[in-house]
């Protein structure tokens, strides 16, 4: 993946680098301002602020894989650059759209969990919105198939659920 290229390209805005250690043991160098966007990393850095040399700090992120991190880091970086400028919300929205448009459903889920763990709320918002859009106004069967979820209800439970709000299930998209 683009892990090494993204983290090694040093931007002028931040000179200091932090090393993040992913769940699969890979070390990724990121700018300090990017690392500070991640809540666990921020906390870790604050706890270890007496360390003179930031370069020496390795922040463990045991819940995020390197593959996911390497997707997240460029996004956070560009998003930071965008929001530093007085740009319109439209531009940010367009950027978010571009980022999410090509995400597969698996990736979407992984990123969502990572964004939650890392406390990147603006990304979590965007991802949830996209996911919700993908299952909006769909039939139960469609959602199940789309998400690859097994129906684990007993027939009785299903009948009970169906009887609950019969008015809500007419005229939904079948595809």
């Amino acid at each position: 993946m683009a892990s090494s290229s993204s983290s090694s390209s040093c931007s002028s805005s931040s000179e200091k680098k932090i090393t993040l250690k992913s769940s699969d043991g890979e070390a990724l160098n990121v700018e300090k301002n990017v690392a500070l966007e991640f809540e666990p990393a921020k906390g870790f850095l604050e706890d270890n602020s007496e360390e003179a040399d930031d370069e020496a700090i390795v922040v463990p992120l045991p819940n995020v894989s390197a593959a996911v991190l390497s997707e997240l880091i460029p996004y956070v970086k560009q998003r930071l650059e965008l929001s530093a400028k007085p740009v319109q919300k439209k531009l940010i929205k367009a950027f978010d759209d571009q980022f999410t448009r090509h995400l597969s459903d698996d990736k979407l889920g992984e990123l969502m969990l990572a964004a939650n763990y890392l406390g990147v709320n603006y990304l979590l918002d965007v991802l949830c919105d996209v996911t919700a859009d993908r299952i909006k106004n769909k039939s139960v069967e469609y959602v199940r198939e789309f998400l690859g979820i097994q129906n684990d209800f007993t027939p009785e439970e299903e009948a009970e659920l169906r009887a609950q709000c019969p008015w809500a299930f007419e005229g939904v998209d079948q595809d």
């Binding site: 894989s65 459903d105 991802l127 996911t131 769909k138 979820i149």
Partner: protein, 462 residues
């Protein structure tokens, strides 16, 4: 005696207007209403003929037969009642008798439909001139389904905190798991779904069901919009709102014709923390009923309803308006200053509940009648503050473009066959859209038909 034919035609109508993509539907509605208008007119003539023998016309000039005529009438009444506003009261009376004499009616909905038509007619009859058509037709836009976005977008992240990310759970990924459990991350997305989708998701699997049921936060905002709105009843609404376990904050019911004053009162009683209430187009609610509920609610509820949307359908007297405002805690100056301008738009007949104004209706600066008052989006009108105020009015006082809502002070406009006004810019867009549709081929024949009709029947003014 026929009483099944009509309901059949109605349901097919419904289906037609519910299916298809939105744009097409918009066109379709407009087209449908044209044909209803014609049919309704011919019915009017025929009814007058039956009763007065004043006009010498063949009994069935278009060979429609009683059955098809009645079908079209019921269709009009049920779904597009506003078409009938072109009738005068006498005609409507005739029509009502005509129906009761000749048909056995088992379905109560017809009757409620009649009542509603009746009220609407009384109201609109007070106005004069061509503009009333404009109002009548543009109110069609309300049948469009507005996007059911859940505006709050609160993620109930409290529920899922310990999801493990990355390689460790490759097995049950969002989409690829072979009939597995849902990805934990999906629970986050629930907060972004509206009531209707939550009900669907609830039926997908156990973990979703538990998540949806155990989290009242998901139900903090409940919006019911067409096509669901005609199916919901008092009881089902009470049940639905009880999912919020008392923390319901925003309740929006658009055109819920099954909701009564009593039902609304029950909902309010069990949700003391409600602050926003939108009931535009709910035909069985009355101003008095809403006032009564509000009085009772705001005396016990905390902080009480601060934001009310009733749409333009009610006949609100000035006294009621003042009482509503005082109940909502709105004072005149605040109302004027804080609100964002409201534009008349195709497809956005009702004002949204997103802005801060306490109540959506206001006195029209021109005619002083209470109703929805629109601002003008035209640059030339907005530039100067004094003209911006001049351009503020209800739909009857100043004609506005059906699409963008601008007035026609500084631009030319076009009147279509269906008596909608378009400014030239929007009309050009329409024509371009038509050409695109033509390129797309047969699937869009209906839209093309409409636009062609529009093109042939226009008269240029100004």
């Amino acid at each position: 005696m026929m009483n099944c034919g009509d309901s059949k035609s109605f349901s097919s109508l419904d289906k037609e207007s519910e299916s298809g993509n939105r744009d097409c539907e918009r066109m379709e509605n407009t087209e449908l209403k044209n044909s209803y208008f014609e049919e309704a007119c011919s019915c009017k003539v025929a009814a007058a003929d039956d009763n007065n023998n004043a006009i010498e016309l063949p009994a069935d000039p278009f060979d429609m037969g009683k059955e098809s005529r009645f079908n079209s009438i019921t269709g009009c009444f049920e779904k597009y009642w506003k078409d009938l506003c072109v009738f005068d009261e006498k005609d409507l009376e005739d029509l009502c008798f005509f129906e009761m004499d000749e048909f056995e009616i088992s379905d109560l909905k017809h009757f409620s439909g009649f009542n509603f038509v009746w009220n609407g007619t009384m109201r609109v009859q007070k106005e004069n001139g061509i503009l009333k058509y404009d109002e009548i037709y543009s109110s069609f836009s309300q049948y469009e389904i507005s996007n059911g976005d859940c505006d709050d977008g609160f993620a109930s992240s409290a529920n899922v905190n310990n999801g493990v990310v990355g390689n460790e759970n490759k097995g049950d990924d969002l989409g690829c798991g072979e009939g597995g459990a849902p990805h934990d991350a999906l629970i986050f997305a629930l907060g972004y779904l509206g009531a209707k989708d939550l009900l669907a998701v609830e039926r997908v699997c156990r973990s979703f069901r538990d998540a949806v049921r155990s989290d009242p936060l998901l139900w903090r905002t409940i919006q019911i919009e067409p096509p669901l709105s005609e199916k919901i009843t008092d009881d089902s609404l009470v049940k639905l709102t009880s999912r919020a376990q008392g923390i319901l904050q925003c309740l929006s019911l658009t055109e819920c014709s099954g909701i009564t004053n009593g039902g609304l009162r029950r909902v309010l009683e069990s949700n003391p923390r409600l602050t926003k209430l939108c009931v535009p187009g709910c035909s069985r609610l009355t101003v008095e009923g809403i006032l009564g509920s509000l009085r009772a609610f705001n005396s016990v509820g905390f902080p009480g309803i601060k934001c009310l949307r009733i749409g333009g359908l009610f006949d609100v007297t000035r006294k009621q308006f003042e009482e509503l405002k005082s109940l909502l805690g709105a004072d005149d100056n605040m109302q004027q200053k804080t609100c964002v301008p409201q534009y008349f738009r195709w497809g956005q007949f009702y004002l949204s509940c997103d802005d801060d104004r306490a109540i959506d209706i206001d006195a029209c600066p021109k005619c002083q009648k209470l109703g929805l008052v629109y601002d003008c989006p035209a640059e030339s009108c907005r530039a100067k503050p004094d003209t911006a105020q001049l351009c503020r009015s209800c739909r009857l006082c100043i004609p506005r473009c059906f699409k963008c809502g601008c007035c026609f002070q500084d631009c030319d406009f076009v009147e279509t066959f269906s008596l909608d006004f378009f400014c030239l810019d929007c009309f050009k867009e329409l024509l371009i859209c038509e050409e695109k549709m033509e390129l797309m081929g047969a699937s869009s024949s209906k839209c093309t038909f409409l636009c062609q009709g529009t093109r042939y029947e226009i008269c240029l003014c100004g």
